[in-house]
């Protein structure tokens, strides 16, 4: 038998990480964002504990502005795989009727994602939270540990990270402190797609090209997912063949024009792409350090 392939090594590394958390933390949770990386995480978590179920709940921080297809997919997966799904929405955000259209992307993200996540973690007292972040996504992510320590205020101190030697993880935290755990740290976007293809992992249909109603704004194609989207008199709603490279809140997630309707098409498109994956996300664009700032505040 030949040596394990690159992908088999990544899979084993992730499974090892899942088990390590289950064995050493009292209240872990998986942050389930419904995107393709979450789908891979779910798949790996099922493998890690087979024949048992993953011994932790899955938390979706809902901003109420996710694509409708994402919510439908989420509920279907929870029913099919039988995991324990928790959904949290920031009640203050609902009260203030926070909307990305009215309040802008940074207020919306802060209130409905960053604050909401902190609320949910405090509410349930989770001491470890799995996230699907990868080091190839963004420069400050490339610096992050697999087991990434957060203080009691959920803040990340990038200049004072615990040394992480071998795969001998320091899993000790004091009450109130927690660890964010990233089993996909060493995966690239290509690895993710390759794995989805190889393992036949279900993903939200929005990743595949289809005719969808979109409006072009500031060079970004925004999909009209429901009637909360304000259509100005200069806006033209057009049906275009589009798909999404990442998924988030529909007003903040740009579609790309594409004919890629199968996984093979998507991988080919990705291999020839000239822009990076996060390019479609408005929240990263402000300035170079913007992701690092959000992470210090407790964003994933």
């Amino acid at each position: 038998m030949t040596s394990l392939t690159h992908l088999q090594r990544l899979e084993a590394e992730a499974i090892h990480i899942f088990r390590e958390v289950a064995a050493t933390f009292s209240r872990p949770v998986m942050l389930y964002s419904v995107g393709k990386d979450s789908s891979v995480m779910l798949h790996l978590a099922m493998k890690a504990f087979y024949p048992a179920k993953p011994p932790f709940p899955f938390l979706h921080v809902d901003t109420t502005w996710k694509f409708r297809d994402m919510i439908a997919f989420r509920d279907r997966m929870a029913a099919e795989r039988g995991f324990d799904l928790l959904v949290h929405v920031n009640p203050e955000g609902i009260e203030q009727a926070i909307s990305p259209f009215v309040h802008g992307s940074s207020v919306h993200t802060h209130v409905m994602k960053t604050v909401a996540l902190r609320q949910a973690l405090d509410k349930y007292g989770f001491d470890a939270a799995f996230g699907g972040a990868r080091r190839d996504e963004e420069k400050s992510r490339a610096k992050e540990r697999i087991f990434s320590f957060r203080n009691a205020a959920h803040a990340w101190d990038p200049k004072n990270q615990r040394p992480e030697m071998w795969k001998t993880y320091n899993t000790r935290v004091a009450p109130g402190e927690s660890i964010r755990v990233f089993p996909l740290s060493n995966w690239t976007e290509l690895d993710i797609w390759q794995y989805i293809l190889k393992e036949n992992i279900p993903i939200v249909p929005l990743y595949f090209a289809a005719p969808r109603p979109v409006v072009e704004r500031d060079g970004m194609l925004v999909m009209v997912d429901d009637d909360r989207m304000p259509i100005g008199k200069d806006d033209r709603v057009e049906e275009r063949m589009v798909r999404f490279r990442t998924l988030g809140c529909y007003p903040l997630t740009g579609a790309i024009e594409s004919d890629a309707a199968t996984l093979e098409d998507i991988v080919r498109e990705m291999l020839t792409a000239r822009t990076s994956e996060r390019q479609g996300r408005m929240i990263d664009k402000d300035e170079a350090g913007s992701m690092e700032k959000k992470k210090r505040e407790g964003y994933f």
Partner: protein
């Protein structure tokens, strides 16, 4: 070296992915001194292998104008220096991981910092790497950090080195400069046990010999960097090593299933094979190898599986399933090389949590045999190991560990040390060998035991440990308590800090190291006395939590009673029975607790006594009441 097959038709994508899948993986790190161009080199590799996207390139051009150090050229270092502080200061602080691939191999690169103060981050990158690219600035030659990083790479078991003589353009592509640096490097690296050393003259900024041969160095006939990285043999040796399976997690979804989940650290195992439980020595056969993708006949190095055994044996997390004919060490004492990461030095006698891949146990550093000067590799006598220092230590653990030597197995021979108060990762260790005496010396089990001795005295042994500032009233309360106990017919003994320093500990001063030793000796004496059945009253400032914890850990559970004699420092200074506070405030006493050295108040003492306004006899009665309540239980 077309990484991205532009215009590949859809049907070829599957073939392309299949090729990708069969590539091998090389994990390497870049290291060397500050400004030797590590980040620039990685940026250049990513750029030349076309892994930089248009939007990233646009951001890079923008950042180069803002923070760049290369004039109008693109500053590749900004691609990898991801933290704001790094971009602002133009240095690398933490290790960054980068990913790229060629037609032949996939690569994970750890870009590590050059500054000595960030050595722990360099070690982090090295711990998972198979190869190290050591950069040297051609104008500077071998520097202190070059030697330091080469040593740490060797210490962490890296077998392959690329000596990248960078900025060769700035010395006019001079062969003599290159040859001198190579000779210097080989001269000191000879003892470091590397399997291969490949020197390459290159310019990361201009791309010479990075991903293509340079016409500027016609005198150099070796491979360019990428060519070498693609072809250097990745070792498959772990497949051939004896079977090791550290048990991570016991899976018990229902009463019928009991599986041991883990990742095979080395070797392989098949259904029907005999395996031994490392710590107990019991053996059984593998009944089943479970994965969600179906049962396997065989599990090999690197695979994460769940093993089911034929017999119900006691196996829990931290134990290991191993080859019966080639077992690991099981011992509670061993020697190891240690790299220290923390600002608080490692002092022999202190307690730490020792964490292997799946086991966790309390440990004491019983001896610091020597520190290694990473510049000369000389062995130096040392009393403590400071941040970024490397030393050789003996360890004693509270329970036996199963391990191999690090030289034999990087996975089962490593550990980290964790501070039990702050939970910080304070050091990393590579085990050298088990100490023989751990296997041969066993505690003598005596028939007249501690219980019997205490029973003869009609009492229960205890160590009442008084801690508090100088002048807080520890000795006063302890004296009253001893009188009270004596009058009730109890057998007691009082150990007083000052008195012990006149005799047993008169060779010790007041440095941190000596204070630890002072406490350790007193605690050992108290333990022997408690073993003899006495109620021991220890009156010691003992300002550090870790040292009191050390004392507590020596005692039998429940026998250690920590009494916090809590008097505000203003009141202590006012009482000042020995005139010490006045001296300390004049600066005549170094390391005086409360003034020039900290006092760490107990977090959960058995008894917390506030002395102001309360009669010492009353406080003594409160302690006696607590002792009486223990006797009843």
């Amino acid at each position: 070296m077309a990484v991205i097959p532009t215009n590949a038709p859809a049907r070829d994508v599957v073939d392309y992915l299949r090729e990708q899948e069969n590539k091998s993986l090389l994990r390497f790190l870049t290291c060397g001194s500050v400004d030797d161009g590590k980040s620039t080199l990685i940026g250049r590799l990513l750029y030349d292998t076309k892994l930089i996207f248009e939007d990233q390139l646009a951001a890079l051009e923008r950042d180069s104008r803002k923070h760049g150090t290369t004039g109008d050229d693109i500053d590749f270092a900004l691609l990898v220096d991801g933290l704001e502080a790094e971009r602002e200061q133009g240095i690398t602080i933490d290790v960054a991981y980068r990913f790229f691939a060629t037609d032949r191999r996939k690569f994970i690169v750890a870009d590590t910092p050059g500054h000595e103060e960030y050595t722990r981050n360099m070690a982090t990158g090295a711990s998972t790497a198979d190869l190290a690219v050591v950069l040297v600035d051609a104008r500077q030659g071998i520097l202190r950090q070059t030697r330091r990083h080469s040593y740490i790479a060797s210490l962490l078991g890296i077998r392959h080195i690329v000596l990248a003589v960078n900025k060769i353009d700035l010395v006019g592509y001079d062969r003599a400069v290159f040859d001198t640096i190579v000779a210097d490097f080989r001269a000191f690296a000879g003892d470091l046990g590397f399997a291969t050393i490949q020197p390459i003259p290159l310019s990361a900024r201009h791309g010479d010999n990075v991903t293509r041969r340079s016409e500027n160095t016609p005198w150099y006939n070796g491979p360019h960097l990428l060519e070498h990285l693609e072809t250097v043999p990745v070792e498959q040796a772990y497949r051939e090593k004896p079977f090791r399976f550290p048990v991570q997690y016991v899976s018990r979804p229902d009463l019928d299933f009991r599986g041991f989940a883990g990742q095979v650290a080395s070797g392989s195992v098949a259904v029907g094979d005999m395996v031994t439980v490392a710590k107990s020595g019991q053996s059984t056969r593998i009944k089943e190898i479970v994965t969600q993708d179906g049962a396997l006949d065989r599990a090999v190095e690197g695979q994460a599986v769940t093993l089911v055994l034929e017999d119900q044996l006691e196996v829990s997390r931290g134990n290991m399933l191993v080859a019966p004919d080639d077992r690991p060490n099981v011992a509670d004492q061993f020697q190891a090389h240690v790299i220290w990461f923390d600002a608080n030095p490692m002092i022999p006698g202190r307690n730490y949590i020792l964490r292997t891949e799946t086991d966790s146990v309390e440990t004491t550093v019983t001896a610091l045999k020597y520190e290694v000067d990473v510049n000369t590799f000389a062995h130096l006598a040392a009393k403590a190991l400071h941040m970024n220092g490397v030393g050789v230590c003996n360890f004693a653990t509270r329970a036996p560990l199963a391990f191999d030597s690090y030289a034999a197995n990087r996975i089962t021979g490593n550990f980290v040390l964790i501070d039990r108060m702050t939970n910080r990762t304070v050091g990393a260790g590579m085990i050298d060998f088990a100490l023989r005496r751990a296997e041969n010396v066993h505690w003598q089990a005596m028939e007249v035991d501690r219980k019997a001795r205490a029973a003869l005295k009609h009492q229960q042994a205890a160590v009442v440990w008084f801690t508090g500032l100088s002048g807080s009233g520890k000795s006063t309360v302890a004296n009253r308590l001893e009188k009270l106990l004596h009058s009730k017919g109890r057998h007691t003994y009082m150990l007083d800090g000052d008195n012990v320093r006149h005799g047993l500990n008169k060779d010790l001063g007041f440095t941190d190291e000596d204070r630890v030793e002072n406490i350790r000796r007193v605690a050992e004496v108290a333990r022997l006395m408690a073993d003899a059945g006495l109620i021991v009253l220890v009156s010691f400032i003992s300002p550090f939590r870790s040292e009191r914890q050390l004392a507590r850990d020596l005692m039998v559970d429940g026998e250690f009673i920590e009494v916090f004699v809590d008097t505000p420092i203003e009141e202590c200074a006012r009482r000042d029975p020995k005139g010490l506070y006045k001296k300390a405030m004049r600066g005549e006493l170094a390391n005086f607790t409360g003034i020039s050295s900290p006092y760490e108040a107990p977090e959960n003492p058995e008894l917390h006594l506030e002395t102001v306004g309360t009669d010492p006899d009353e406080l003594a009665i409160r302690i006696d009441t607590l002792l009486e309540s223990r006797m009843g239980s």
